[in-house]
Subunit: 428 residues, 2 copies
Amino acid sequence: MTAAKPNPYAAKPGDYLSNVNNFQLIDSTLREGEQFANAFFDTEKKIEIAKALDDFGVDYIELTSPVASEQSKKDCEAICKLGLKAKILTHIRCHMDDARVAVETGVDGVDVVIGTSKFLRQYSHGKDMNYIAKSAVEVIEFVKSKGIEIRFSSEDSFRSDLVDLLNIYKTVDKIGVNRVGIADTVGCANPRQVYELIRTLKSVVSCDIECHFHNDTGCAIANAYTALEGGARLIDVSVLGIGERNGITPLGGLMARMIVAAPEYVKSKYKLHKIRDIENLVADAVEVNIPFNNPITGFCAFTHKAGIHAKAILANPSTYEILDPQDFGMKRYIHFANRLTGWNAIKARVDQLNLNLTDSQVKEITAKIKKLGDVRALNIDDVDSIIKNFHAEVTTPQLQSARKNKQEDSDVPALNSVPAAKRAKPTV
Amino acid sequence: MTAAKPNPYAAKPGDYLSNVNNFQLIDSTLREGEQFANAFFDTEKKIEIAKALDDFGVDYIELTSPVASEQSKKDCEAICKLGLKAKILTHIRCHMDDARVAVETGVDGVDVVIGTSKFLRQYSHGKDMNYIAKSAVEVIEFVKSKGIEIRFSSEDSFRSDLVDLLNIYKTVDKIGVNRVGIADTVGCANPRQVYELIRTLKSVVSCDIECHFHNDTGCAIANAYTALEGGARLIDVSVLGIGERNGITPLGGLMARMIVAAPEYVKSKYKLHKIRDIENLVADAVEVNIPFNNPITGFCAFTHKAGIHAKAILANPSTYEILDPQDFGMKRYIHFANRLTGWNAIKARVDQLNLNLTDSQVKEITAKIKKLGDVRALNIDDVDSIIKNFHAEVTTPQLQSARKNKQEDSDVPALNSVPAAKRAKPTV
């Protein structure tokens, strides 16, 4: 209710609302992620993923409904018995049949969902808002009676009627749910729309707000961030964003966003250097490659190429980096073997090769490299050969010495190299 | 200046400002994209890409600076001679040496950029704001004197001093630039911050505003959209978003976002069914795979899996789709060969196989499929075998008929199939 004060000189609502420094993660790799086209997790793999997520530090782990299949129920029970720090949730339809099974699995909480858009009311369950409210109250009171957490969420919230939404959320908040959920089930929402809806909802309910954003139009990370600004507290993520269609807010991508806004909070709470391992674990399990342009772990996320960028990065990495690769156990690369290179990048390579050349000599070498780079793609050996040949010419006319340099090639650490294109693990 | 009226009851600035229905695209695959780690485009490939972009309908094509290398200059001249509908731009440092070369290439316009953040002023060019303004005026007047378009952009705008920014933009706007540019060079900006800056800038300059967003923290599409809401007119994109580090706003992803907001404008202006071909062209050229979760063209972007989703999609695709795959020449898939499947999806497959079974029979089959799906990953043949065996048992006890069905397998179009994981083109 803090946002409703009419005094225009008071602090802005955003000053009270933001949870950017106080958010929680609900990882849904083992629920939403199971709905990814390629996903089939056996029990062992589910346990491995759950343990990795727990180690990383997610606050909640959400599992597929125990009524989805017999094995889904057994897996849910098995994961509840692992004794993880993360709370275990399962995700069910707003129906007593599902709720009765869910509460017996040993979960710490139940996430209930029902479609509230006109599309889903007409073509999915066919129920009206009164029916939805009645079912919701019944299921919520039942789950609460078992002493575990309960979240009530609408589905396709951004295409639902605002008054319908606020009515049902107000009702379930009064009964005492732990969280209400806003879900952009089709991935249509945009950030300012998200901010408005969350801020409005925040003035209606006193419980926490959880958000779930699909990525069909590429806004799932930005929407999650903006939801936190508007007062949401919990964000649904999955590893690499896997889920229905092209998925939801990815765990790694959201960490990239959040560390910029709340570095101390994020670094103290989550083991960021584990992101790469967790992504590889899940990518292998569902047989996909890490996208080349993935935040943080994409093969070129910390590769700097244009001469003007390389120059400044060498002087101070903050010039062209908002993320520090070290925070994620990653490394920075300066790509100098190309026609866009500049003499500062080449000078850094000359220093790395432990050679001694003047600036004007380095500029001369750079011109040679750019000339070859105009003809074809270069690799590091090409550049090193040009540098070493030049060095041999200007310093020691004896061929002996030039040869000696060549033999030392293997001793030079390729710290500044760009990795080969991570294109493919050839599998069927 | 429309936004500056003091009447609090007047229409909101946003009502005047939005260019969501009136935006333009500057494709920078051949400039920013050349700065992608893997990119080496020879002349032929550059021309092929430029022609494809022109055919798609981008408004501008931006090319690498002609001073980057000798071949870059020749390629720039060659592309200017193609007679494309798109206007050709080249991108240079704010320096007369660069400008003199650029205006001789035959381009329709020059994009000038200079670092304005304290980081870049200290570690890149080392100049103060007075020097920047002086250089800018000189370069702009020179380019204008040649009768071609000129854009002035700051670099790392979101970490630059606001007053410095507004001062320089006001200055260059008065001289008469065609556009000013805001660049999130390090990918740090968030949507509400973008909206505020663009809206403020809009009240200071009368020329168009162009935006350039890097994707380090996953917000490049959302920031572009929000910039248009705030009054920006032009967005820099590249195919698949390729660029420095993990790149910028991707062409395809932005189209997914924009078609939701401005369907008529987008469909009338851009050949959306060409996105897949253009992405494949560029992906092949830079040796990357299309990310599995790419908007529109990711292999699962239109794949529906959970039973509850499949049911509703079969009744009305709008239930779980904000994008119509047909708009992009793509197809929808219902993934029914898994343990999360439901009887509506299986019934659709039964119909597709031209078999006749009651609902309760289909439910019985669905239970069998879910049971097998609990044990292992399924493929379409597994499901079809279960369906056909069941059908054979309940309708024609003769083995003859069951065998006949099997022979007809190859005639059944696998319309509802999910494609195999598009994991890898095995290359070096």
